[in-house]
């Protein structure tokens, strides 16, 4: 299996990421992508993401390896943006490729639950010029618990 993990300030191109995984291959039956975007909820004007670089990369790699053990995956790509983003901006991309659709769906769902709840990111929201740190949500934790 090939895996690509990137934590970056730059935006990403979904089509490029898909074609990087699938080009010249005839064993991939299913490609699932999850792209997350910043929503303009309650007048949000910007979102700033901070992370713990050494831990983020190590943990994401560990979860990708776990996904690979649980599902027959051909390739996985995880891209997470950091820094200050605006409403409508892309923030995260997970691409999973497999022979079978259920594996691709479940692995993408599993990785997103990890990224949205357990990955060492901290978010600061800005509304009307005021910034505040986002508190951890329990509903997201419930999502992540589905996989235990």
């Amino acid at each position: 299996m090939t895996a690509r993990i990137s934590i970056q300030h730059e935006d990403f191109d979904v089509a490029e990421e898909i074609s990087a995984l699938t080009q010249d291959r005839t064993d991939i039956g299913a490609i699932v992508t999850f792209a997350g975007c910043v929503r303009a909820d309650d007048g949000l004007t910007s979102l700033t993401l901070e992370h713990y670089p050494a831990m983020t990369e190590r943990e994401i790699a560990g979860h990708v390896a776990e996904a690979q053990q649980r599902w027959p995956l051909v390739a996985v790509t995880v891209i997470h943006r950091i820094g200050t983003l605006k409403p409508g901006d892309a923030i995260v991309l997970v691409v999973t490729a497999s022979s079978h659709r259920r594996a691709a769906f479940e692995a993408a769902d599993f990785l997103m639950d990890y990224l949205k709840t357990q990955a060492p990111f901290w978010k600061q929201e800005e509304r009307g010029g005021v910034r505040h740190w986002v508190e951890a949500k329990t509903s997201d934790d419930d999502d992540a618990k589905r996989w235990r």
């Binding site: 901070e50 713990y52 050494a54 831990m55 995260v92 949205k116 357990q118 990955a119 600061q124 740190w133």
Partner: protein, 83 residues
């Protein structure tokens, strides 16, 4: 020891990374927190409520009773909010 602070812990303390030499009686995360609280007002504020904090030693989440040593990287941060 390398100390890392993230999010509002970093803001309260006013730095993101520092290197400290520990006295020999600091053997656990809890000892370390007690020690750091005396560093200044920002530290006291950041470490005031231990329940609001999480800690990782060498990039692994650990509890307050985990051992810490001179070569460790210890990070303090609020509960992660994910991406």
């Amino acid at each position: 020891m390398t100390l890392l602070y993230f999010a509002w812990v970093r803001q309260k303390i006013g730095c993101s990374e520092e290197h400290v030499v520990l006295p020999s009686n600091v053997k656990t995360v809890a000892d370390l927190v007690d020690y750091l609280r005396a560093f200044g007002a920002g530290y006291a504020d950041a470490f005031a409520d231990a329940k609001r904090l999480r800690v990782a030693v060498n990039q692994n989440h650990v509890g307050w009773d985990a051992a810490v040593g001179a070569d460790d990287e210890v990070a303090f941060f609020p509960p992660v909010t994910g991406g």
